[in-house]
Amino acid sequence: MSELPPGIKLEKEDDKIMTLNVGPQHPGSGHMRIIVKIDGDYIVSCDPDPGYVHRGEEKMAEYRNYITNIPHLERPVIHDSCNILYPYCLGVEEILGLEVPERAKYIRVIASELNRCVYTLYWLAIYGIFLGHSTMFMWPTGDRELLIDLLEKLSGARVTHAYFIPGGVRNDMPANFEDVCIRQINYFEKRIKQYDSIFYSNPILKSRTIKTGVLAQQDAISLGATGSVLRASGVDFDVRKKEPYDVYDNLDFQSNTLKSGDSYARSKIPWLDMLESCRIIRNALEKIPKSGSVRVKLKPNPKAGNVETYKRVESGRGSLGMYIISNGKPEPYRVKISVGSFRNLICLPYLLKGEKLGNMPAVYWSLNYWPVEADR
């Protein structure tokens, strides 16, 4: 949290302060508005104003049964649809008492890691274009095709997969999928390693992002940041490690942390995670049972008792939890989605205060924020 330079006062001299509406129709805001007050080149205050894409997903979930909720609940982050369904499926499995087959667990891990990469590439592309690096927009969007192709082979849809289901996954891996996956993941890993020289080692990028928007470790914890933002500040918190779900405890991977907590570290952590994801996928493809069921057969309209559960997973934007309350009806009584985006957005006013206007997109998008997910 950088201090305001001592020469600049907060909103006292009115004619010096200019209010800029960054968004909602702005190439640098996503579907939200940031009300930025600037004094010259410095931001004196910043007020994020989300809610332009609010859809009431939580309320909608109360009128649909456990199965038909699935296509809806993935809408907030269609780029990361496997991961947002993951805690829902885990929770429903717990309240319905379903036992997921081992092969399905591995497939789930593979799909969610692939989807994490897809999301991260999309995020990275936008980060690139926010920094004015058009190549960094085009390359990740292109390389994303590799993974989307894999996911499409697996689930039959390119983005809105609706693949996870309580009790397993919808369908088994197609034949030959392992080989194609290994081949494309290897190539993909080679590709994203090339981002280093053009993006992460680029001196101009480093000069722009290092030491901007520094989130200290204590602040990160007290503001409740999660995911890459938290890990960039030096807190080693990864749900996959700390609270392993499905088969993550069987797999060999590590959670990446960086100490500095600036925009650069926040932008680098997802990239390191992508490399880690490639490792996880390869590992999972080695350990996956070669055959077996992938889905538990469900009753048409499953009902649960008066139970409640909270499950969380590590999504592309940090810990993503779902709190499901059932009151014995086919529909859940309440589905509360706790997303990383919103928790990271809380850091924005603290980080932007006293920064330069040119740092605004760099800091804002490095928070790993997805407007639609935050609005739900």
Binding site: P6, G7, K9, D15
Partner: protein, 170 residues
Amino acid sequence: MVDISFLVISVLTVVCAIASLELRSLIYGSIALMGSLLGIAFFFLLLDAPFVAMFQVAVYVGSIAVLILFTVMLVKRELIFTKIEDPKRKYIGVGLMLILIVGLGSVIMDSGLKSISTHSAPIDFNEIGEDFLTYYWPALVIMALILSSSITGALVLARRENIENEQHTN
């Protein structure tokens, strides 16, 4: 006799000079001032002083006018467009201007200047540089001192002073 380019340029210069003082908007006034300065530069070209003409354009239009424009833009919008002046004072000013033009003009018309014309070759601009570095070199050094004092002074004036006794704080 004068020729047409001279007439055009002098009309441009004089009209722009009057406009720079009389236009309601300060921004347009600055643009008119730029026009007047450009007109002077054209005069310099007419007088075979290309080096000075280009210096005039580069320094006056390229930097002084930019600074003026920039400072005008700082001023609140109302102030750019208001023009406070006394009508009485204005009439006196116009009278003064006319008296000056007529008086000085008649002085000059009567003097021996009107017969002067030249057929000698124009000055090569390299002589200016030679002047600078030989005869006038102390003036060049003094010029550097002027520029340095003006920049230090202007920076000291223009900076904000919100920090008390800042020399000891950093």
